[in-house]
């Protein structure tokens, strides 16, 4: 289950909350794209005898740059890697970029999944977030996609910020599920460091988040979507049957993937690498054949901890016997003690040697993970 992630570091407008790496100036697009192609060839050997099951164009906003750039990259990938026949090939789009022509071109060139960043259907919310589109465009883009040949559609929504009351949140979910979507990512608004959102709230120019809204709206989404044929398969992800994201699962299963483009991460044989998150420097280093990434080899404890963290988040259950295999005898004792405590606190349950979080546990899954960590 190997994958390729391509980071397209350009957006038409900067959302207040966003801490992903992107630039709103398009003048380096050509340079970055050609360097991404160089990088793909450099990293070819990492997945040389593997079959690629997923390609993901993320960002930034891949739909904001000319489609030919995307196709150039796709061609380079096809020439250098073994692709599976039923590969999942996703592109992230913003609603204001969606048109029937563009979707057709994407589809004709092998893209079979779209991840659409809607966030909300309400203008006041989109304004709070400083999105590049309005509610009407969000609806129109969904209409276009529903009629298109793309048969695997994800939509991102964000909840848990002050302009969105519970009723409106449900309304957003209702509108969305009225369309033929296969996968929904519901993210709780997070104030990342050094973002405009953090700054504007501190300066009292935007309303702050309220403490309990996130937890409440998490439950609202979970109730609503699970009653509407969606399976809640990871903290922030829902899908209808057979439409879990191959790409996401690659991340969470510790499968190998390479990431190309500024700020992209790779994970191959327990080695993590992350690229420079600066478009110009990235290009300069690639051209000069100099180091454009940092790396870290995960040790036994790191691997175990990530395993815990990701498996608790995904609801197929944490396999206790697999944990035991990675632990030393004295660590097993501590691990069991913690599990027992957590059971008593009524945040998880054990079934057939698998551990599942209940709803209360999901909401504090970071806290629970860290308790089970090896340090």
């Amino acid at each position: 289950m190997s994958g390729i992630y391509v980071h397209i570091p350009f957006c038409s407008k900067a959302c207040h909350y966003c801490d992903f790496h992107f630039s709103t100036s398009l003048n380096l697009v050509e340079g970055v794209i050609s360097c991404i192609q160089i990088e793909l060839k450099k990293k070819k050997h990492l997945l040389s005898n593997k079959t690629i099951k997923s390609i993901y164009f993320g960002g930034g906003t891949p739909s904001a740059i000319h489609h030919d750039f995307i196709f150039d990259i796709l061609n380079t990938i096809k020439e250098n890697f073994n692709l599976s026949k039923n590969i999942e090939c996703t592109i992230e789009m913003n609603p204001d970029n969606v048109s029937p022509e563009l979707i057709r071109k994407y589809y004709d060139n092998g893209i079979n999944r779209v991840s659409l960043g809607v966030q909300s259907f309400r203008d006041c919310d989109l304004l709070y977030m400083n999105r590049s589109h309005d509610g009407k465009q969000a609806i129109e883009s969904l209409e276009i996609l529903s009629k298109s040949r793309i048969n695997n559609l994800n939509v991102d929504l964000i909840y848990g910020y002050p302009t969105l009351d519970d009723k409106s949140w449900i309304e957003n979910l209702k509108i969305l599920t009225g369309f033929n979507v296969h996968h929904i990512s519901c993210y709780c608004m997070t104030i990342e460091k050094k973002t405009a959102l953090e700054f504007l709230i501190k300066k009292k120019k935007l309303r702050p988040l309220e403490p309990d809204t996130g937890a409440r709206q998490f439950k609202i989404a979970r109730d609503f979507l699970t009653r509407n044929k969606f399976t809640h398969y990871e903290i922030s992800n829902y899908s209808i049957k057979n439409f879990k994201s191959v790409h996401n699962q690659n991340y969470w299963n510790h499968s190998n993937y390479i990431g190309v483009g500024p700020s992209a991460h790779s994970f191959v044989d327990n080695l993590r690498q992350w690229n420079i998150n600066n478009n110009k420097k990235y290009c300069d280093q690639i051209h000069a054949s100099k180091k454009f990434y940092q790396k870290e080899k995960l040790n036994r404890k790191n691997i175990f901890n990530e395993y815990i963290f990701m498996n608790l988040r995904s609801f197929k259950g944490l396999d206790i016997s697999h944990c035991y295999k990675q632990l030393k005898p004295n660590e097993i004792k501590d691990f069991n003690n913690e599990i027992k405590k957590l059971e008593n606190l009524n945040v998880l349950r054990k079934k057939n040697n698998l551990i599942y979080l209940n709803e209360k546990g999901m909401l504090i899954s970071d806290n629970i993970s860290s308790r089970l960590f090896l340090v």
Partner: protein
């Protein structure tokens, strides 16, 4: 009297903290070529890391210099004194070993509390005082006013005051001249019975205790059989010598001189500062006067965070005790914290030092419980008990009378702050006993107050109300009757004995409330609500709640987020490991000292 005895000068330096004692000592060593500049690490006499960081001399040391003056070679013994009130007994013994003292006053600060208290100790011991006004290189130096203060204090002539700078070296030569010409040589009968005053000791892990002494009469020879007066124990003088930069072994040390003795003593308890060394065969009749057993003034529980480390903690404390005889400890147990030790300290600084040394030198993660002074209670059944621990506190209906230790405190401050300082001391149950103007705008206030009051936030408060312009010193002053209550803390209904504290009735209510508020700040959110209650007897006087974590989950989790988040959570887990689990509640180490960090 031998010729050489006349050429000995024993002196110490008395100064308030930071007035430049250590720096000036370095200059003297340099000037007399006792050390070369290359060897000179700044502030050589403070050789423990911790001292260097805090800029205070915790344990006394001594060093010998030679200096030629008008064709005669003099032996100058500088005896360093600890600079903090917690160690005032050790200061008094160091001073007793000298004939003269440099009184150093920072020209930018003027006279402060320890300048005065140490000066009195020196005068009591008939020391010749050489006044030195230091740091005259500073722009902020107020030379005229400082001079006036010194003249007022000593009744000396202005021309006797030496202006100096430890920084530039100015005045060092004059200081040396004054030491030689003004300080008397040590008296004492060189043919009399051996009498040597122990003024300090140091633990050497290879050779046992080194005791530092000054010979008051007679002489000591290598391989002599000697006896320590207070313990009556006898030893063989394996090695004796003088203290240069390194130890310098000698065959004999004569009257008036300062030296060290190594005799295979393994336990610091056997070497008591102030004790007299005499010879076994030719014992002196009486010891040198002024010896006291030092008694701990402040007690606190020390527990290992991980209860498996109990034995290791014991052995660490034993090792610490080898070079710090004033530390006492005995096993105690707490329902909340398991097995630990009740430790006795000379004061709050001493307590902090021990705690830090445990962490640094022994890598022990420990929990300190709220410190308290030692109380005495007379019970209705005529029994008398000592209370060093809140858990010793008897039930109220058994108590006839409780007494608590008092101190005499001196505070020197600017006259602008008299009002605030008085208010603070009165709030701390102090009684003003005198008020003396040192200059028109500096005043010395003396109080009698309970020692317990300075154990809590006294220093910090004094500093903040006086904007740093107040210095403080104190001496023990017996016991007085008091009205004491025990404040208990309950977490989710269970009493946590390690959080109990003994408080004066007057403060119990307000402090109890503040403790609960502070604990609410210090105890992190758990997966359930934590109720914090303060109780006196069966009466609940305060209640706070730490709300449960409701939500702690990463929303988006892409490639890069995983590593970042994992590192963050690993760090959290490390923090948790240092917490103590009591019942189901996790409590960080510092919560046990909450009472020392109360907000207003």
């Amino acid at each position: 009297m031998s010729y050489s005895q006349k050429n000995i000068r024993n002196f110490c330096i008395i100064a308030h903290i930071d007035h430049g004692k250590s720096t000036l000592a370095d200059r003297l060593l340099e000037y007399t070529k006792t050390i070369s500049e290359r060897e000179l690490q700044n502030q050589l006499l403070d050789d423990m890391d911790l001292e260097r960081e805090r800029g205070i001399t915790i344990k006394s040391h001594a060093i010998q210099m030679n200096h030629s003056f008008m064709g005669t070679t003099y032996t100058l013994n500088l005896i360093d004194t600890p600079g903090h009130v917690d160690f005032s007994y050790e200061v008094s013994r160091s001073i007793a070993a000298c004939e003269g003292a440099l009184l150093i006053v920072d020209a930018a600060q003027g006279i402060e509390a320890q300048t005065i208290s140490n000066l009195y100790l020196a005068l009591e011991n008939d020391l010749k005082i050489i006044p030195v006004m230091n740091k005259i290189d500073l722009d902020s130096a107020d030379i005229e006013s400082t001079k006036d203060q010194i003249i007022d204090l000593l009744g000396c002539d202005g021309s006797e005051i030496i202006g100096a700078s430890g920084k530039t070296g100015q005045g060092i030569e004059q200081i040396i001249d004054a030491i030689i010409n003004k300080i008397p040589y040590p008296s004492g009968d060189s043919r009399g019975h051996l009498q040597a005053l122990i003024f300090d000791s140091v633990y050497n892990p290879f050779r046992g205790i080194e005791a530092y002494f000054k010979i008051v009469s007679g002489s000591i020879k290598k391989n002599d059989k000697v006896k320590f007066f207070s313990t009556g124990r006898e030893y063989h003088a394996d090695e004796i010598g003088t203290l240069r930069l390194e130890k310098e072994p000698k065959e004999i040390i004569n009257t008036g001189d300062v030296g060290y003795i190594i005799s295979g003593i393994k336990n610091a308890q056997e070497v008591k500062v102030g004790d007299t060394i005499t010879s076994c065969e030719n014992s002196c009749k009486s010891p040198i006067s002024g010896f006291e057993e030092v008694k701990p003034m402040v007690f606190s529980g020390i527990y290992p965070v991980d209860s498996d480390d109990y034995e290791e903690l014991r052995s660490s404390l034993e090792k610490l005790q080898l070079n710090d005889a004033s530390l006492t400890f005995e096993p105690e147990s707490s329902i909340a914290l398991g097995f630990g030790f009740r430790c006795g300290f000379l004061g709050m600084l001493h307590m902090e030092i021990i705690q830090e040394r445990l962490e640094r030198e022994f890598n022990m993660s420990v929990i300190n419980t709220v410190p308290n002074v030692s109380y005495y209670a007379s019970l209705k059944n005529k029994e008398n008990i000592q209370i060093n621990n809140p858990s010793d506190f008897p039930s109220v209906d058994q108590i006839e009378k409780v007494t608590e230790p008092y101190i005499k405190a001196q505070i020197i401050t600017k006259s602008d702050f008299i009002g605030q300082v008085m208010n603070l001391c009165i709030e701390k149950r102090g009684v003003l006993t005198s008020q003396v103007y040192l200059t028109t705008n500096r005043v010395e206030l003396s109080f009698e107050m309970p020692l317990a009051e300075i154990v809590f936030d006294f220093y910090d408060k004094l500093k903040s109300i006086s904007k740093g312009y107040a210095s403080f010193d104190y001496q023990a002053d017996g016991y007085k009757s008091t009205s004491l209550v025990k404040l208990d803390i309950m977490l989710n209904g269970d009493q946590v004995d390690a959080l109990s504290s003994l408080l004066h009735k007057k403060h119990a209510f307000t402090i109890g409330k503040k403790i609960c508020i502070k604990l609410k700040e210090l105890i992190p959110k758990q997966q359930f609500d934590v109720a914090i209650q303060g109780a006196i007897g069966s009466k609940i006087i305060a209640r706070e709640t730490v709300k449960a974590v409701r939500k702690d989950v990463t929303a988006k989790c892409y490639g890069g987020d995983i590593t970042r988040k994992r590192k963050l959570l690993e760090k959290q887990k490390k923090g948790k490991k240092k917490m103590k689990q009591i019942g189901s509640v996790e409590i960080p180490q510092n919560a046990f000292l909450a009472v020392l960090k109360l907000n207003d």
